[in-house]
Symmetry: C2
Amino acid sequence: MKRITSNDIAKLANVSRSTVSRVINGYADVPPETREKVMKVIKENHYYPQLSGQLLTGKLMKTIGFFWASGGNIANSPLTSSFFVNTIEAAASRGYLVLTCILNDLDNDENINYVKKIFMEGRIDAGIIVGADNNEPFIDELIELGKIVGLFDYYHEGENISNRITVNFDRNSGEQVIDYLYRLGHRKIGVIDGNMSRYSSMQRHEGYLRGMMKHNLRIQSKWLIYGGITETSGYEAAKILLERCDKDYPTAICASNDAVAFGVYKACSEYGLKIPDDISVVGIDGDLNGLYSNPPLTTISFDFKDMFYSLVTRVIDTINEKPDVERDVFIPGSLTERKSCKYIDGAM
Amino acid sequence: MKRITSNDIAKLANVSRSTVSRVINGYADVPPETREKVMKVIKENHYYPQLSGQLLTGKLMKTIGFFWASGGNIANSPLTSSFFVNTIEAAASRGYLVLTCILNDLDNDENINYVKKIFMEGRIDAGIIVGADNNEPFIDELIELGKIVGLFDYYHEGENISNRITVNFDRNSGEQVIDYLYRLGHRKIGVIDGNMSRYSSMQRHEGYLRGMMKHNLRIQSKWLIYGGITETSGYEAAKILLERCDKDYPTAICASNDAVAFGVYKACSEYGLKIPDDISVVGIDGDLNGLYSNPPLTTISFDFKDMFYSLVTRVIDTINEKPDVERDVFIPGSLTERKSCKYIDGAM
DNA sequence: TCAATTTGCTAACACGTGTTTATGTAATAA
DNA sequence: TTATTACATAAACACGTGTTAGCAAATTGA
């Protein structure tokens, strides 16, 4: 099936190719009867201007890339669909499409070159990267080459560059959790930290410490542990923590995210600790699975729709050279109280 | 920032542009020293061949479109991420990217034209459409114009056309459910049907009827009801069904999918019916939320990874003109027994 | 040494579109 | 009637790449 071009339309309508072009692009100086004649031929022959030609004249793709660098299985995470759907819908609301790409990691040169190629060959007008470690050199490189990069949960050092757009979890969610537990009377609080190359994990860690210090709570190293970001790693970390506490358990554990909190659930159950009667647990993310867990998980919820709309909107504004686009935005979380924390006597 | 082209590279390397091209495309008749000289200039200047030029020479996009026509909020459905991730990963395993697009419905001409434009302007090499009603005329039109369309859960009448590729739930999942309930002793079985323009709903309905007839079970119309495919619509339907049964409840209800089953849960709870003690419920889909519901939902699980890999693979094979690509594939489901069905005395 | 072949490269064309400039024609004004 | 303007359309160019045909130089064979 031969592809039909504007040349064919021109011949069929007995006009020149440029007249066809001006009809399609709504130029003023083409009389109604000519316009109708040409439009009729276009419809009859199902003619659509080819992107291949348009790109060459400087038109943009009206497409942004969405790169997800996720270790592990994301097909079943409830956050996954939220990230995708909100990015796609935010882009669509501005007339943009989304080219999606999943990468297992960004430690690997092959993957990095793949991403760079997609940016550089003009397949997308800008890209959003989720799951990059802080201060990724290849991201700086892309920006230096003039590309626009949107980043979710990402920290960068040095000066702001207008083509680097970020959205991050608000800095004080960790502190919020400690405040809440303090109000419930908890004084011995354990923390499971996430992956420290992820900005959110760093911030949460600092927030915990800030909160503990604010309330003059003792920070015991045996109650602190690195636990990654998956349910399995959280389970392993919690087992070690409980083991080494030797009955001097914290009365509450702050997990680095909801998945890790579910790992803590499992470890506690193996140790015969009932939640929240024997020990309280708090997550962070607002994962909807926490509604169905037993007990339902108290957590800090984030509005991912809000976050991705903010990011996508600012990225597209940057493509269109809108002035004064805000580069770095922090979105606050809110405490979602469910059933995994217990009120206790603060003096105990 | 001016875009750098193969012409610039040619000048910098003191060769002709075509030599640059043959270096990039791995032609044989270029000696190693020339190749290295050119490659060096390419690296130093971060040159990447532009898609805009390549497309013009007949290269394909190496991209497939993924169109999701979903009524309602899909951001929180656990199936959503599975559909996206499996499509993207299946495509990636063949070297293809995925352009994603979410549409609220396909009843609307504007949306249909949007999809047609994306196909026709050469932005994608083929497209997958999820959520289309059976026998959509615009899909036939696309196929007649030479486009390759992959369809999930879609029935079409008439002859097979090689550019129409489908994957569907296996025909007998409805029958499987009835067999299972029969084995548990159920004789009075109610059915909540889904959207009959969706192929899977049609097939399930027929499967139920076939199963009932096979076991000589009475099909009472007051036990059958149309209930859509969302939790809310399932809830409404279940309320009507329970209301009009006036104590002559079925002992088990087959929901058109898992979301609808959760609606049934809610309606039953309002009517003071405990699941599974007073009434059994079966879903279809294998939604992971069913693991956390109370009680965990017995359902027919489908391997969506399998389904999308099959679809994507065959679509890409068709793009590459592989002969004898299978057009229509059915993937069987498997009964996932959890806690929402009770063994009862068949004679009761 | 001369003809025949291989090697290494270039010039030229094709692809489909948007836009700018030029051209021809009809209507208007002088 | 002639000069001027407005209008409708066409011709020509630019965009970046891949590929084909062809040319000159270097190499081989006799």
